[in-house]
Symmetry: C2
Subunit: 105 residues, 2 copies
């Protein structure tokens, strides 16, 4: 059971096509931040801020590996069930992989 303030805050974070696409991409597993920078037509700092919002909403966990940061869905978030269900009902977005060759995305 979610409280109104809680849930509306999370839905607001989910209510953005860039962030929703990012999450859809992470549905498949951990994603390197660089893969988002490559995929979207916005600047790297903009990507970084979107990721921060998802992190601050508790939806993501990060893992540093060398100079790369990998993000994944936070399965322990109270909203994880909601997120996964939404993503399951979301059309697949074509994956992109213009990432650096040594980036272990």
């Amino acid at each position: 059971m979610y409280a109104v303030e809680e849930l509306s805050k999370v839905l607001k974070v989910l209510g953005d096509s860039t962030r929703l696409t990012m999450l859809k991409q992470m549905e498949a597993g951990e994603q390197c931040a660089c893969s988002f920078v490559d995929r979207f037509d916005i600047s790297q700092p903009a990507i970084s801020r979107h990721l921060k919002m998802l992190r601050q909403a508790g939806l993501l966990l990060e893992r540093r590996d060398k100079q790369w940061i990998h993000y994944r869905l936070n399965e322990t978030s109270p909203f994880y069930p909601l997120v996964t269900e939404l993503l399951a009902n979301l059309e697949t977005v074509e994956p992109s992989c213009d990432c650096e060759p040594d980036c272990a995305m």
Copy 2:
């Protein structure tokens, strides 16, 4: 299956505590617009605009009865299943009924 643009638009509309509370109230059945005006601490035009956003997202249907307009969840919306499930997982908000006595809410 929802498209990203579609779903993110709907989630943005849902991502507001006033609108989410309105929907929760409509979960119980049709609600007179006046009941929202009474319940929330914002002006009548603000309420009207929130309702318009929900309507434009296809989530509501309206019915005019005399001078009152009654809103209800649109069961034929492709997002109706999503909405009902969200509402089912949303804590109840205490109902208010400071409405006009002859308002058939």
